[in-house]
Protein backbone atom coordinates (compact mmCIF):
# COMPACT_ATOMS: atom_id res chain seq x y z
CA UNK A 1 0.00 0.00 0.00
CA UNK A 2 1.42 3.38 -1.02
CA UNK A 3 0.30 6.95 -0.50
CA UNK A 4 1.10 9.43 -3.28
CA UNK A 5 0.29 12.93 -4.43
CA UNK A 6 -0.29 11.87 -8.01
CA UNK A 7 -1.25 8.87 -10.08
CA UNK A 8 2.07 8.69 -11.93
CA UNK A 9 3.96 8.02 -8.69
CA UNK A 10 1.78 4.99 -7.98
CA UNK A 11 2.28 3.67 -11.51
CA UNK A 12 6.05 4.05 -11.12
CA UNK A 13 6.02 1.79 -8.07
CA UNK A 14 7.46 -1.63 -8.84
CA UNK A 15 5.28 -3.44 -6.33
CA UNK A 16 2.03 -1.97 -7.64
CA UNK A 17 2.34 -1.84 -11.42
CA UNK A 18 4.30 -4.33 -13.56
CA UNK A 19 5.22 -1.80 -16.25
CA UNK A 20 6.64 0.67 -13.70
CA UNK A 21 9.72 1.29 -15.85
CA UNK A 22 7.90 2.22 -19.07
CA UNK A 23 7.74 6.01 -18.79
CA UNK A 24 5.95 6.57 -22.06
CA UNK A 25 3.20 4.08 -21.17
CA UNK A 26 2.79 5.61 -17.69
CA UNK A 27 2.55 9.12 -19.10
CA UNK A 28 -0.06 8.12 -21.68
CA UNK A 29 -2.02 5.99 -19.22
CA UNK A 30 -2.13 8.70 -16.54
CA UNK A 31 -3.33 11.22 -19.13
CA UNK A 32 -5.95 8.76 -20.43
CA UNK A 33 -7.32 8.10 -16.95
CA UNK A 34 -7.37 11.73 -15.78
CA UNK A 35 -9.09 12.86 -18.97
CA UNK A 36 -11.87 10.28 -18.66
CA UNK A 37 -12.46 10.65 -14.94
CA UNK A 38 -11.90 14.38 -15.13
CA UNK A 39 -14.33 15.43 -12.38
CA UNK A 40 -13.00 13.10 -9.68
CA UNK A 41 -9.32 13.51 -10.54
CA UNK A 42 -9.60 17.31 -10.54
CA UNK A 43 -10.87 17.10 -6.96
CA UNK A 44 -8.29 14.55 -5.79
CA UNK A 45 -5.25 15.60 -3.81
CA UNK A 46 -4.05 12.29 -2.38
CA UNK A 47 -4.05 8.77 -3.79
CA UNK A 48 -3.68 5.41 -2.11
CA UNK A 49 -2.54 2.54 -4.30
CA UNK A 50 -2.83 -1.13 -3.38
CA UNK A 51 -2.57 -4.53 -5.01
CA UNK A 52 -6.13 -5.73 -5.49
CA UNK A 53 -7.44 -9.14 -6.51
CA UNK A 54 -10.37 -8.05 -8.55
CA UNK A 55 -13.09 -10.51 -9.50
CA UNK A 56 -13.46 -9.25 -13.10
CA UNK A 57 -9.71 -9.23 -13.74
CA UNK A 58 -9.03 -12.69 -12.28
CA UNK A 59 -11.66 -14.05 -14.71
CA UNK A 60 -9.98 -12.36 -17.68
CA UNK A 61 -6.60 -13.55 -16.43
CA UNK A 62 -7.66 -17.17 -16.18
CA UNK A 63 -9.44 -17.10 -19.54
CA UNK A 64 -6.77 -15.37 -21.57
CA UNK A 65 -4.00 -13.27 -20.06
CA UNK A 66 -2.51 -16.05 -17.92
CA UNK A 67 -1.89 -18.03 -21.11
CA UNK A 68 0.20 -15.31 -22.77
CA UNK A 69 3.98 -15.39 -23.11
CA UNK A 70 4.23 -11.94 -21.49
CA UNK A 71 5.06 -12.95 -17.92
CA UNK A 72 4.91 -9.43 -16.55
CA UNK A 73 1.13 -9.58 -16.62
CA UNK A 74 0.07 -10.44 -13.07
CA UNK A 75 -3.16 -11.82 -11.67
CA UNK A 76 -3.89 -8.71 -9.57
CA UNK A 77 -4.85 -5.15 -10.44
CA UNK A 78 -3.71 -1.85 -9.02
CA UNK A 79 -6.52 -0.25 -7.02
CA UNK A 80 -6.27 3.51 -6.72
CA UNK A 81 -8.30 5.27 -4.00
CA UNK A 82 -8.99 8.96 -4.45
CA UNK A 83 -9.13 11.49 -1.61
CA UNK A 84 -9.86 15.19 -1.80
CA UNK A 85 -7.98 15.79 1.48
CA UNK A 86 -4.23 15.84 1.97
CA UNK A 87 -2.14 13.44 4.04
CA UNK A 88 1.45 12.29 3.66
CA UNK A 89 1.65 8.92 5.37
CA UNK A 90 -0.30 6.20 7.18
CA UNK A 91 -0.06 7.96 10.55
CA UNK A 92 -1.63 11.11 9.14
CA UNK A 93 -4.26 9.02 7.34
CA UNK A 94 -5.25 7.34 10.60
CA UNK A 95 -5.44 10.65 12.44
CA UNK A 96 -7.19 12.72 9.78
CA UNK A 97 -9.50 10.30 7.99
CA UNK A 98 -12.59 8.98 9.76
CA UNK A 99 -15.00 6.21 8.76
CA UNK A 100 -17.17 7.41 5.84
CA UNK A 101 -14.96 10.47 5.48
CA UNK A 102 -16.42 12.95 3.01
CA UNK A 103 -13.05 13.41 1.36
CA UNK A 104 -13.08 9.83 0.03
CA UNK A 105 -14.10 9.94 -3.64
CA UNK A 106 -14.09 6.25 -4.53
CA UNK A 107 -11.66 4.07 -6.45
CA UNK A 108 -10.63 2.82 -9.85
CA UNK A 109 -8.71 -0.34 -10.74
CA UNK A 110 -5.98 -0.59 -13.37
CA UNK A 111 -5.30 -3.83 -15.21
CA UNK A 112 -1.65 -4.93 -15.36
CA UNK A 113 -1.52 -4.92 -19.17
CA UNK A 114 0.71 -2.81 -21.43
CA UNK A 115 -2.06 -1.12 -23.41
CA UNK A 116 -3.56 2.23 -22.56
CA UNK A 117 -7.13 1.90 -23.84
CA UNK A 118 -7.74 -1.48 -22.17
CA UNK A 119 -6.17 -0.66 -18.82
CA UNK A 120 -9.12 0.61 -16.83
CA UNK A 121 -11.10 -2.18 -15.28
CA UNK A 122 -13.55 -1.04 -12.60
CA UNK A 123 -14.54 2.36 -11.38
CA UNK A 124 -16.57 2.84 -8.23
CA UNK A 125 -16.44 6.60 -7.98
CA UNK A 126 -18.73 8.40 -5.62
CA UNK A 127 -21.85 9.86 -7.26
CA UNK A 128 -21.81 13.52 -6.44
CA UNK A 129 -24.44 16.07 -7.34
CA UNK A 130 -21.88 18.45 -8.80
CA UNK A 131 -20.56 15.87 -11.25
CA UNK A 132 -23.62 16.16 -13.46
CA UNK A 133 -24.89 19.43 -12.08
CA UNK A 134 -27.94 17.88 -10.39
CA UNK A 135 -30.56 20.20 -8.99
CA UNK A 136 -33.62 19.67 -6.81
CA UNK A 137 -35.85 19.24 -9.85
CA UNK A 138 -37.20 15.79 -10.77
CA UNK A 139 -34.54 13.15 -11.25
CA UNK A 140 -34.23 9.40 -11.52
CA UNK A 141 -30.72 8.06 -11.29
CA UNK A 142 -29.64 4.48 -10.81
CA UNK A 143 -26.85 3.56 -8.43
CA UNK A 144 -25.66 0.86 -6.06
CA UNK A 145 -24.37 1.02 -2.51
CA UNK A 146 -20.62 0.44 -2.21
CA UNK A 147 -18.58 -0.49 0.85
CA UNK A 148 -14.80 -0.11 0.84
CA UNK A 149 -12.22 -0.81 3.54
CA UNK A 150 -8.84 0.93 3.71
CA UNK A 151 -6.49 0.39 6.65
CA UNK A 152 -9.35 -0.59 8.93
CA UNK A 153 -11.57 2.35 7.99
CA UNK A 154 -14.88 1.81 6.28
CA UNK A 155 -16.32 3.99 3.53
CA UNK A 156 -19.93 3.56 2.42
CA UNK A 157 -21.24 5.53 -0.53
CA UNK A 158 -23.34 5.33 -3.68
CA UNK A 159 -21.83 4.73 -7.06
CA UNK A 160 -22.49 3.38 -10.51
CA UNK A 161 -20.82 -0.02 -11.18
CA UNK A 162 -18.69 1.05 -14.13
CA UNK A 163 -16.56 -1.49 -15.99
CA UNK A 164 -14.48 -0.74 -19.08
CA UNK A 165 -13.56 -3.05 -21.92
CA UNK A 166 -10.04 -4.46 -22.36
CA UNK A 167 -10.41 -4.60 -26.19
CA UNK A 168 -9.17 -8.20 -26.25
CA UNK A 169 -11.42 -10.55 -24.30
CA UNK A 170 -14.13 -7.96 -23.83
CA UNK A 171 -15.45 -5.21 -26.07
CA UNK A 172 -18.16 -2.67 -25.30
CA UNK A 173 -20.91 -5.30 -25.60
CA UNK A 174 -19.40 -7.45 -22.83
CA UNK A 175 -18.55 -4.47 -20.64
CA UNK A 176 -22.12 -3.17 -20.80
CA UNK A 177 -23.60 -6.59 -19.99
CA UNK A 178 -21.26 -6.76 -16.98
CA UNK A 179 -22.26 -3.26 -15.80
CA UNK A 180 -25.95 -3.99 -16.22
CA UNK A 181 -25.60 -7.30 -14.43
CA UNK A 182 -23.63 -5.86 -11.51
CA UNK A 183 -26.33 -3.23 -11.05
CA UNK A 184 -29.24 -5.72 -11.25
CA UNK A 185 -27.40 -8.13 -8.95
CA UNK A 186 -26.83 -5.49 -6.29
CA UNK A 187 -30.22 -3.82 -6.67
CA UNK A 188 -32.64 -6.71 -7.25
CA UNK A 189 -30.57 -9.81 -6.49
CA UNK A 190 -30.55 -10.98 -10.12
CA UNK A 191 -28.05 -13.66 -11.19
CA UNK A 192 -24.59 -12.17 -11.49
CA UNK A 193 -23.32 -12.45 -15.06
CA UNK A 194 -19.56 -12.69 -15.39
CA UNK A 195 -17.35 -12.90 -18.44
CA UNK A 196 -17.24 -16.71 -18.39
CA UNK A 197 -21.06 -16.79 -18.12
CA UNK A 198 -21.24 -14.63 -21.26
CA UNK A 199 -18.86 -16.90 -23.15
CA UNK A 200 -20.77 -20.01 -22.02
CA UNK A 201 -24.06 -18.52 -23.23
CA UNK A 202 -23.03 -17.79 -26.81
CA UNK A 203 -21.97 -19.60 -29.94
CA UNK A 204 -19.35 -18.11 -32.17
CA UNK A 205 -18.93 -17.89 -35.91
CA UNK A 206 -15.16 -18.36 -36.14
CA UNK A 207 -14.58 -21.14 -33.64
CA UNK A 208 -13.05 -18.83 -31.02
CA UNK A 209 -14.86 -16.70 -28.46
CA UNK A 210 -11.76 -14.77 -27.48
CA UNK A 211 -10.17 -12.51 -28.55
CA UNK A 212 -13.61 -11.13 -29.29
CA UNK A 213 -14.77 -9.52 -32.53
CA UNK A 214 -17.85 -8.19 -30.76
CA UNK A 215 -21.25 -9.66 -30.06
CA UNK A 216 -24.24 -9.83 -32.35
CA UNK A 217 -27.30 -8.19 -30.77
CA UNK A 218 -29.03 -11.55 -30.68
CA UNK A 219 -26.12 -12.92 -28.61
CA UNK A 220 -26.50 -10.10 -26.08
CA UNK A 221 -30.21 -10.92 -25.79
CA UNK A 222 -29.42 -14.62 -25.47
CA UNK A 223 -26.95 -14.03 -22.63
CA UNK A 224 -29.58 -12.00 -20.77
CA UNK A 225 -32.37 -14.47 -21.49
CA UNK A 226 -30.32 -17.46 -20.36
CA UNK A 227 -29.61 -15.72 -17.07
CA UNK A 228 -33.27 -14.81 -16.46
CA UNK A 229 -33.00 -11.11 -17.17
CA UNK A 230 -36.09 -11.26 -19.47
CA UNK A 231 -34.81 -8.48 -21.73
CA UNK A 232 -37.30 -6.20 -23.46
CA UNK A 233 -35.99 -5.25 -26.87
CA UNK A 234 -36.99 -2.21 -28.91
CA UNK A 235 -36.04 -0.98 -32.35
CA UNK A 236 -36.46 2.65 -33.35
CA UNK A 237 -36.01 4.64 -36.51
CA UNK A 238 -34.15 7.60 -35.01
CA UNK A 239 -36.40 8.07 -31.97
CA UNK A 240 -39.73 6.56 -33.02
CA UNK A 241 -40.37 2.96 -31.97
CA UNK A 242 -43.92 2.61 -33.32
CA UNK A 243 -46.88 4.69 -34.35
CA UNK A 244 -50.12 2.91 -33.57
CA UNK A 245 -52.60 3.54 -36.37
CA UNK A 246 -56.22 2.64 -37.09
CA UNK A 247 -57.70 3.42 -40.49
CA UNK A 248 -54.84 5.85 -41.15
CA UNK A 249 -55.57 7.69 -37.92
CA UNK A 250 -52.80 7.99 -35.33
CA UNK A 251 -53.88 6.51 -32.01
CA UNK A 252 -50.60 6.77 -30.10
CA UNK A 253 -46.87 6.63 -30.55
CA UNK A 254 -44.04 5.07 -28.66
CA UNK A 255 -40.81 7.02 -28.42
CA UNK A 256 -37.36 5.82 -27.25
CA UNK A 257 -37.36 8.51 -24.57
CA UNK A 258 -40.72 7.32 -23.19
CA UNK A 259 -39.31 3.81 -22.89
CA UNK A 260 -36.05 5.00 -21.32
CA UNK A 261 -37.89 7.19 -18.79
CA UNK A 262 -40.24 4.43 -17.74
CA UNK A 263 -37.30 2.05 -17.23
CA UNK A 264 -35.31 4.58 -15.20
CA UNK A 265 -38.32 5.50 -13.06
CA UNK A 266 -38.69 1.77 -12.39
CA UNK A 267 -35.00 1.57 -11.33
CA UNK A 268 -34.04 -0.43 -14.41
CA UNK A 269 -31.05 0.55 -16.50
CA UNK A 270 -31.13 0.76 -20.26
CA UNK A 271 -28.65 -0.46 -22.86
CA UNK A 272 -28.73 1.66 -25.99
CA UNK A 273 -27.18 0.37 -29.21
CA UNK A 274 -26.51 2.57 -32.18
CA UNK A 275 -24.12 2.25 -35.05
CA UNK A 276 -22.29 -0.83 -33.68
CA UNK A 277 -21.58 0.74 -30.30
CA UNK A 278 -23.44 0.24 -27.03
CA UNK A 279 -23.81 2.60 -24.09
CA UNK A 280 -25.66 2.42 -20.82
CA UNK A 281 -28.20 5.02 -19.75
CA UNK A 282 -27.99 5.51 -16.02
CA UNK A 283 -30.47 8.25 -15.27
CA UNK A 284 -32.30 11.38 -16.27
CA UNK A 285 -32.73 14.69 -14.51
CA UNK A 286 -34.01 18.19 -15.09
CA UNK A 287 -31.96 21.34 -14.75
CA UNK A 288 -33.65 24.69 -15.33
CA UNK A 289 -36.54 22.79 -16.94
CA UNK A 290 -34.21 21.17 -19.45
CA UNK A 291 -33.88 17.41 -19.52
CA UNK A 292 -30.56 15.58 -19.38
CA UNK A 293 -29.63 11.90 -19.65
CA UNK A 294 -26.67 10.36 -17.88
CA UNK A 295 -24.70 8.13 -20.25
CA UNK A 296 -22.01 5.62 -19.29
CA UNK A 297 -19.82 4.94 -22.30
CA UNK A 298 -16.95 2.55 -21.64
CA UNK A 299 -14.92 3.66 -24.64
CA UNK A 300 -16.09 7.31 -24.48
CA UNK A 301 -16.75 7.04 -28.24
CA UNK A 302 -20.25 8.50 -28.30
CA UNK A 303 -19.76 10.94 -25.47
CA UNK A 304 -16.83 12.34 -27.43
CA UNK A 305 -19.04 12.75 -30.50
CA UNK A 306 -21.89 14.32 -28.59
CA UNK A 307 -19.88 16.55 -26.28
CA UNK A 308 -17.47 18.24 -28.68
CA UNK A 309 -14.47 15.98 -28.27
CA UNK A 310 -14.64 15.59 -24.50
CA UNK A 311 -13.40 12.07 -23.80
CA UNK A 312 -15.36 11.06 -20.71
CA UNK A 313 -16.58 7.70 -19.43
CA UNK A 314 -19.78 9.27 -18.13
CA UNK A 315 -21.58 12.48 -18.90
CA UNK A 316 -24.92 14.24 -18.75
CA UNK A 317 -26.19 14.85 -22.27
CA UNK A 318 -29.02 17.22 -23.05
CA UNK A 319 -32.07 15.42 -24.43
CA UNK A 320 -32.08 17.59 -27.59
CA UNK A 321 -28.46 16.70 -28.27
CA UNK A 322 -29.09 12.99 -27.86
CA UNK A 323 -32.18 13.23 -30.06
CA UNK A 324 -30.23 15.08 -32.76
CA UNK A 325 -27.47 12.48 -32.58
CA UNK A 326 -29.91 9.56 -33.04
CA UNK A 327 -31.56 11.35 -35.96
CA UNK A 328 -28.25 12.15 -37.64
CA UNK A 329 -27.13 8.53 -37.48
CA UNK A 330 -30.44 7.35 -38.90
CA UNK A 331 -30.45 9.97 -41.67
CA UNK A 332 -26.83 9.34 -42.65
CA UNK A 333 -26.59 5.57 -42.44
CA UNK A 334 -30.19 4.43 -41.92
CA UNK A 335 -28.94 2.75 -38.77
CA UNK A 336 -31.62 2.18 -36.19
CA UNK A 337 -31.46 2.64 -32.45
CA UNK A 338 -31.95 -0.42 -30.25
CA UNK A 339 -32.85 -0.50 -26.58
CA UNK A 340 -32.40 -3.47 -24.26
CA UNK A 341 -34.00 -3.36 -20.83
CA UNK A 342 -33.98 -6.17 -18.27
CA UNK A 343 -37.28 -6.94 -16.57
CA UNK A 344 -38.55 -8.89 -13.61
CA UNK A 345 -39.59 -12.51 -13.65
CA UNK A 346 -43.26 -12.15 -12.81
CA UNK A 347 -43.90 -9.35 -15.24
CA UNK A 348 -45.76 -9.92 -18.49
CA UNK A 349 -47.72 -6.77 -19.25
CA UNK A 350 -45.14 -4.76 -21.12
CA UNK A 351 -45.02 -1.05 -21.73
CA UNK A 352 -46.09 -1.09 -25.43
CA UNK A 353 -49.30 -2.92 -24.41
CA UNK A 354 -49.79 -0.66 -21.40
CA UNK A 355 -49.71 2.38 -23.69
CA UNK A 356 -52.50 0.82 -25.79
CA UNK A 357 -54.62 0.13 -22.71
CA UNK A 358 -54.10 3.64 -21.36
CA UNK A 359 -54.70 5.40 -24.68
CA UNK A 360 -57.64 3.34 -25.90
CA UNK A 361 -59.48 2.55 -22.68
CA UNK A 362 -58.47 4.30 -19.49
CA UNK A 363 -57.90 7.79 -20.88
CA UNK A 364 -61.44 7.78 -22.28
CA UNK A 365 -62.92 6.48 -19.03
CA UNK A 366 -61.33 9.35 -17.10
CA UNK A 367 -62.31 11.91 -19.73
CA UNK A 368 -65.93 10.77 -19.69
CA UNK A 369 -66.12 10.65 -15.92
CA UNK A 370 -64.71 14.09 -15.07
CA UNK A 371 -65.06 17.62 -16.37
CA UNK A 372 -62.15 19.55 -17.86
CA UNK A 373 -59.68 16.69 -18.26
CA UNK A 374 -59.32 16.68 -22.04
CA UNK A 375 -55.57 17.41 -22.02
CA UNK A 376 -54.55 14.24 -20.19
CA UNK A 377 -51.00 12.94 -19.93
CA UNK A 378 -49.47 10.20 -17.79
CA UNK A 379 -46.26 8.90 -16.25
CA UNK A 380 -45.90 5.15 -15.80
CA UNK A 381 -43.66 3.38 -13.30
CA UNK A 382 -43.23 -0.34 -12.78
CA UNK A 383 -43.15 -0.81 -9.05
CA UNK A 384 -43.11 -3.50 -6.37
CA UNK A 385 -46.68 -3.52 -5.01
CA UNK A 386 -45.42 -3.73 -1.42
CA UNK A 387 -43.58 -0.43 -1.83
CA UNK A 388 -46.63 1.13 -3.43
CA UNK A 389 -48.91 -0.01 -0.59
CA UNK A 390 -46.53 1.53 1.90
CA UNK A 391 -46.60 4.78 -0.03
CA UNK A 392 -50.36 4.96 -0.62
CA UNK A 393 -52.41 3.75 2.33
CA UNK A 394 -55.78 3.87 0.49
CA UNK A 395 -54.83 0.91 -1.71
CA UNK A 396 -53.10 -1.22 0.90
CA UNK A 397 -56.19 -3.42 1.44
CA UNK A 398 -56.24 -4.72 -2.17
CA UNK A 399 -54.69 -7.99 -3.21
CA UNK A 400 -52.05 -7.29 -5.82
CA UNK A 401 -49.40 -9.18 -7.77
CA UNK A 402 -45.70 -8.64 -7.01
CA UNK A 403 -45.28 -5.94 -9.67
CA UNK A 404 -47.84 -3.36 -10.71
CA UNK A 405 -47.87 -0.41 -13.04
CA UNK A 406 -48.37 2.83 -11.15
CA UNK A 407 -49.73 5.50 -13.48
CA UNK A 408 -49.83 9.14 -12.46
CA UNK A 409 -52.31 11.23 -14.44
CA UNK A 410 -51.78 14.91 -15.20
CA UNK A 411 -53.81 17.70 -16.74
CA UNK A 412 -51.30 20.27 -17.95
CA UNK A 413 -48.79 19.93 -15.12
CA UNK A 414 -51.27 19.32 -12.31
CA UNK A 415 -51.70 15.83 -10.94
CA UNK A 416 -55.32 14.70 -10.95
CA UNK A 417 -54.98 11.11 -9.77
CA UNK A 418 -53.39 7.74 -10.25
CA UNK A 419 -54.17 4.28 -11.59
CA UNK A 420 -52.81 0.92 -10.59
CA UNK A 421 -52.62 -1.77 -13.24
CA UNK A 422 -51.69 -5.42 -12.87
CA UNK A 423 -48.25 -5.93 -14.47
CA UNK A 424 -48.95 -9.65 -14.88
CA UNK A 425 -52.05 -9.01 -17.03
CA UNK A 426 -52.53 -10.41 -20.50
CA UNK A 427 -52.15 -7.68 -23.09
CA UNK A 428 -55.58 -8.24 -24.68
CA UNK A 429 -57.52 -8.73 -21.48
CA UNK A 430 -59.17 -5.48 -20.50
CA UNK A 431 -61.98 -6.98 -18.45
CA UNK A 432 -60.66 -9.23 -15.72
CA UNK A 433 -56.91 -9.44 -15.47
CA UNK A 434 -55.82 -5.84 -14.94
CA UNK A 435 -56.65 -4.16 -11.66
CA UNK A 436 -57.77 -0.99 -13.30
CA UNK A 437 -58.23 1.56 -10.59
CA UNK A 438 -58.37 5.26 -10.79
CA UNK A 439 -58.16 7.28 -7.61
CA UNK A 440 -58.37 11.03 -7.40
CA UNK A 441 -55.29 12.75 -6.05
CA UNK A 442 -55.65 14.01 -2.49
Amino acid sequence: MRIAKNLEDLLKNQKLYPFFDNEELIKKLAFYIKERFDFHFQKSKTFIGEVYKEREWTKLYSLHYGMLHNNRIKNATLRVHLFSSEFENIDQFERKIKDNDKSYLGYITIRPIPTVSGSISRARLKLLKEQFGLTDEERNIIYIPVKVHILGKEFRYTSFPFIAQDNVVTVCAHADILMLSKYMFKKFNFNLIEIDTILDSIQTHNGRKIPSDGLVLEQILKVLEKNRYNPSFYQAKATEVIRYELENKNIAKLDVFDIIDVALRSDLCVLMVLSTHIVLIGGYFYKNNEKYYIIYDDSSYYIEKMLDKKKLFSAAIKKEKLEKFLKEIYDEKEEKTYLIIPTFDRFYFRYPSLVILLEVVIKDIIEQKYEGVDNLSYKATLIDSVLLKRKIKSISKYSMPHYVWYIEWFVDEDKIGFSVIDATAHKNDIYYSPIIRFEEAK
Binding site: D136, G214, F233, Q235, Y244, Y338, V360, I416
Partner: protein, 58 residues
Protein backbone atom coordinates in the same frame (compact mmCIF):
# COMPACT_ATOMS: atom_id res chain seq x y z
CA UNK B 1 -24.33 12.54 -0.03
CA UNK B 2 -26.17 9.69 1.63
CA UNK B 3 -28.77 8.72 -0.86
CA UNK B 4 -29.35 10.41 -4.16
CA UNK B 5 -33.01 9.52 -4.24
CA UNK B 6 -34.00 10.46 -0.74
CA UNK B 7 -33.58 14.16 -1.33
CA UNK B 8 -35.59 14.43 -4.52
CA UNK B 9 -37.99 17.30 -4.33
CA UNK B 10 -41.11 16.75 -6.36
CA UNK B 11 -43.24 19.80 -6.62
CA UNK B 12 -46.53 18.37 -7.80
CA UNK B 13 -49.58 20.56 -7.93
CA UNK B 14 -52.84 18.73 -7.27
CA UNK B 15 -55.95 19.60 -9.26
CA UNK B 16 -59.34 18.70 -7.80
CA UNK B 17 -61.78 17.03 -10.15
CA UNK B 18 -65.46 17.57 -10.81
CA UNK B 19 -67.56 14.52 -11.74
CA UNK B 20 -69.76 14.56 -14.86
CA UNK B 21 -73.38 13.59 -14.34
CA UNK B 22 -74.17 11.28 -17.27
CA UNK B 23 -71.48 8.77 -18.00
CA UNK B 24 -72.03 6.28 -20.78
CA UNK B 25 -68.88 4.31 -21.43
CA UNK B 26 -68.93 0.88 -23.01
CA UNK B 27 -65.62 -0.85 -22.46
CA UNK B 28 -66.60 -3.84 -24.64
CA UNK B 29 -66.31 -2.01 -27.95
CA UNK B 30 -62.63 -1.32 -27.25
CA UNK B 31 -61.47 -4.96 -27.24
CA UNK B 32 -61.09 -5.23 -31.02
CA UNK B 33 -59.08 -1.99 -31.08
CA UNK B 34 -56.75 -3.14 -28.29
CA UNK B 35 -56.18 -6.47 -30.06
CA UNK B 36 -55.45 -4.80 -33.40
CA UNK B 37 -52.94 -2.35 -31.89
CA UNK B 38 -51.22 -5.16 -29.98
CA UNK B 39 -50.89 -7.04 -33.29
CA UNK B 40 -49.27 -3.94 -34.80
CA UNK B 41 -46.70 -3.98 -32.03
CA UNK B 42 -46.11 -7.75 -32.36
CA UNK B 43 -45.21 -7.21 -36.01
CA UNK B 44 -42.78 -4.39 -35.11
CA UNK B 45 -41.17 -6.62 -32.50
CA UNK B 46 -40.61 -9.47 -34.94
CA UNK B 47 -38.94 -7.02 -37.32
CA UNK B 48 -36.64 -5.92 -34.46
CA UNK B 49 -35.74 -9.52 -33.53
CA UNK B 50 -34.85 -10.30 -37.16
CA UNK B 51 -32.55 -7.25 -37.29
CA UNK B 52 -30.90 -8.36 -34.03
CA UNK B 53 -29.67 -11.56 -35.68
CA UNK B 54 -27.05 -9.78 -37.75
CA UNK B 55 -26.34 -6.50 -35.97
CA UNK B 56 -22.80 -6.57 -34.55
CA UNK B 57 -21.88 -4.57 -31.46
CA UNK B 58 -18.22 -4.03 -30.72
Amino acid sequence: MKDLKSDIVTKTKIRKLKKKKNVNFNIGDRIAIVEELNRQYDRAEIEAKVAAMTYIVR
